[in-house]
């Protein structure tokens, strides 16, 4: 009994240890396979990064831009290289729908409209040309007459739509209704082209390759639809989570403006006593996050900043009395101009509502700098004037001071049929047609800039090379223009004047480097006190509730150049006085910047109750909310293959259920272990 007892216990003990070991092995194996395991979808889809999406915007009556379905649109990849591949996609290819890849030279209005209307194209991928753009000589998606419906010329006027921007194909303003992505990364472009070459390229150019083919899925789902009043109404529907139902946001940011000389706020300015020097702060592009806007806006900003630096210099500023008829100079940087003059129309509105230090009748001269990049020796600047009020005094002074720096300034005569170019001046002329305004640009009629308001308007197409102090370089000309304007303003403020400034080439060069090449430059780093991103800041105005780095850093530069240095004050004291006295600590010193302002640049349409959205009086642009932008490629089998896979899977399921049922019925016969064990025990 004892013997059997011990042997029984021994056997049992073995059993326990053995099952414990089995359990341990099971845990080890399953955990190791879990850490190596991938989700199935990562083995199927290859994500494409380095992409910029085209997205949807809406105005009072229409929607424009691109959208995809909520899960993304799928199509077979096809590269457009010539007429034959275009026909393949539109007519001949047997595997519609397609997603086309094209180079900028083929991204024409005609092709995109054909894609949209054919019903065989579900998306477009724009590729970057390898190396330097040699094929693309012009690329602009803005209208050929930018902002024609927001300016002073209405549709009945002959000047309503001049060909200011002949390269413009207006695709920015079309309702494209399918997703479009720009692939800026070269390695990712390689992936796409390789996939196309291996699987999709038609054999001999005539017959299609059989399945499986390389397909891609583009996802850029936009929540808003129809137009701005609809999307705003839908955004304000009651929701338990406030703000969760939002589908669109109004465009906007901040306008930066500052006065040169101190002014007692209780005194009002007499009529015609202020000079305004203005530039446009924003750029535009069809794609998100890529709007370098070098000539379109940066050239103007840097020129005006340089003028600020000249005039804000203590030795210059203290000579400017303000005893003459001109009492002050205001600098203004308008944001959102590309979308119906959002910033400038808002300031004009604020002036009319008495929310501004002066109203529009106080402006004697309005000087705007717009597209100021001149790089060829034969080129000159052009001075466009408002039609109802020209000033010989102004143009003579410009020409005189320009001669000192060999700057060629040609005055465009009023008899010119083209009128005032698209500019922020137009917002002011709408309110006061007899305002004396001038716009300084590098073009007489058609834009010299062939890449206006699009992603290739960068330092290369502008012809800017950092450190190039050549007499014909972009920075030399802009510095000369800034000095000319500064000297002219000095003379207008307090003539005669011995104070003269020289072109500040270094500042202009550095500022251009900061805005066009890298935000991590000495000027920005000193002013913000921290490291910046390596890329230049995007210039797109964005939505009103998010302020862009572009506007904020421009405000800091303005503050630095126009601020009054405060002596004998520590950093802590300076910060303490920020709210009350408007002090700001930057560049290791304290500055009084109470006269530098940033006010909301949002269209008055969103402030006025009961605004008529179809009136066209103010800009009504909003931007749709989106979820995420993804592009991925995968190998797609034919429909027959997919059905066979599904059916065989179902059959396998049914078969396995039958087998298990059968085995279960005969379990006793198959597994005899339990009975024999009982016999042993």
């Amino acid at each position: 009994m004892g013997v059997t007892g011990t042997s029984h216990r021994g056997l049992h003990g073995h059993h326990v240890i053995w099952s414990f070991i089995k359990l341990l092995l099971l845990i080890l194996i399953s955990s190791s396979s879990l850490s190596l395991a991938d989700r199935t979808f990562t083995k199927v889809y290859e994500p494409i990064s380095g992409i910029n999406a085209c997205f949807k915007r809406l105005n009072g009556t229409h929607e424009i831009g691109c959208r995809s379905s909520s899960k993304g649109d799928v199509g077979i990849l096809h590269l457009i290289e010539d007429k034959h591949s275009l026909d393949w996609v539109l007519k001949d290819g047997p595997n519609a729908p397609y997603i086309t890849m094209l180079y900028p030279v083929d991204f024409t209005r005609e092709n995109i409209m054909q894609f949209r209307d054919s019903g065989r194209v579900t998306g477009v991928l724009l590729l970057k040309e390898k190396g330097i753009n040699t094929n693309t000589t012009s690329f602009s998606t803005d209208s050929s007459c930018p902002n024609q419906n927001s300016g002073i010329y209405n549709t009945s006027s002959s000047k309503h739509c001049q060909s200011w921007n002949p390269a413009g194909n207006s695709l920015l303003w079309e309702n494209l209704n399918f997703p479009i992505f720009y692939v800026h990364s070269e390695s990712e472009t390689e992936k796409l082209l390789k996939c196309f070459d291996n699987f999709n390229r038609p054999k001999n150019g005539i017959t299609s390759q059989g399945w499986p083919l390389c397909a891609t899925q583009l996802r850029s789902f936009m929540l808003a639809a129809v137009d701005t009043p609809t999307c705003l109404r839908r955004s304000s529907v009651f929701n338990m989570n406030p703000g969760a139902g939002k589908v669109c946001d109004p465009l906007g940011d901040q306008n930066i403006w500052a006065s040169l000389l101190p002014h007692n706020s209780s005194e009002s300015y007499p009529n015609n006593s202020i000079i305004v020097i203005a530039a446009r702060l924003d750029g535009a592009s069809l794609f998100d996050e890529v709007s370098p806007s070098a000539d379109s806006s940066i050239s103007g900003i840097v020129t005006v900043l340089s003028i600020m630096k000249h005039l804000g210099e203590a030795s210059v500023r203290e000579q400017l009395g303000g005893e003459g008829p001109i009492k002050n100079v205001y600098f203004m940087l308008f944001n959102g101009e590309a979308f119906g003059y959002i910033g400038s129309s808002r300031i004009v509105f604020d002036m009319a509502q008495n929310n501004f230090p002066f109203n529009i009748s106080s402006i004697r001269y309005f000087i705007e700098v717009n597209q100021a990049a001149v790089s060829s020796p034969a080129a000159s600047y052009f001075l466009h004037q408002s039609e109802l009020s020209q000033s010989r005094e102004l143009t003579d002074i410009f020409e005189k001071h320009g001669k000192a720096f060999n700057l060629k300034v040609k005055v465009v005569t009023p008899q010119n049929e083209w009128g005032v170019p698209p500019s922020s001046l137009q917002s002011f002329l709408k309110e006061r047609p007899d305002l004396t305004g001038v716009v300084l640009t590098n073009h007489k009629q058609e834009y010299k800039n062939k890449f206006y308001n699009e992603m290739f308007d960068d330092k290369e197409t502008m012809g800017y090379v950092y450190g190039d102090r050549n007499v014909y370089s972009v920075q030399r000309n802009m510095a000369a223009l800034a000095a000319t304007l500064a000297n002219s303003v000095i003379e207008l403020l307090s003539s005669p004047s011995e104070v003269k400034v020289e072109p500040d080439l270094e500042t202009v060069d550095e500022l251009l480097h900061c805005y066009l090449e890298s935000a991590n430059c000495s000027i920005f780093v000193e002013l913000t006190g921290m490291k910046q991103i390596e890329q230049p800041y995007a210039t797109y105005v964005g939505v009103a509730m998010h302020l862009t780095s572009m506007s904020q850093v421009s405000k800091l530069v303005t503050s630095r150049y126009l601020g009054y240095l405060v002596d004998n004050i520590t950093e802590d004291e300076c910060w303490k006085l920020q709210k009350d006295k408007g002090y700001y600590w930057m560049n290791e010193s304290c500055y009084d910047i109470s006269h530098v302002n940033s006010t909301e640049a949002k269209s008055p349409a969103f402030l006025l109750d009961g605004y008529d959205w179809s009136s066209g009086k103010y800009s009504t642009w909003t931007e749709s909310i989106w979820q995420s932008f993804t592009v991925r490629i995968f190998i797609k089998p034919s429909l027959v293959h997919e059905i066979i896979t599904l059916v065989s899977g179902i059959l396998m399921l049914v078969f396995s259920m039958l087998v298990v049922r059968k085995v279960n019925e005969k379990a006793d016969i198959i597994f005899q272990r339990s009975r024999t064990e009982a016999l042993v025990c």
Partner: protein, 101 residues
């Protein structure tokens, strides 16, 4: 419950109750009434209360059909016209679709 095992007065009582209940904007109650008592009203051999039950079943049935037509008609009108109605269409919708008009 097994209707055939009930007393006839009980059957009439139930049918009548369901008929009156349906007036509280409950067409489905009428539909149930009509279907449930159909056999008793038309297919069993005649009994005293069958005339009344028949009356209630027919009226319930008609009421249900009327409601069904009205709801289907409204549904078609709404689905086809919601977009065209703009703001009114959105006011009438409980869940407004995203990304579409």
């Amino acid at each position: 419950m097994n209707l055939s095992k009930q007393k006839n007065e009980r059957k009439l009582f139930l049918c009548q109750r369901y008929f009156y209940a349906g007036f509280a904007f409950l067409p489905f109650v009428w539909a149930i009434n009509a279907v449930w008592f159909y056999k008793e009203a038309f297919m069993t051999p005649p009994f005293a209360e069958q005339q009344d039950i028949k009356k209630y079943v027919i009226r319930s049935g008609l009421g249900a059909i009327l409601w069904a037509t009205a709801l289907i008609a409204w549904n078609i009108v709404f689905q086809t016209n919601r977009v065209a109605w703009g703001e009114t269409g959105d006011d009438l919708s409980f869940v407004i679709p995203q990304g579409r008009p």
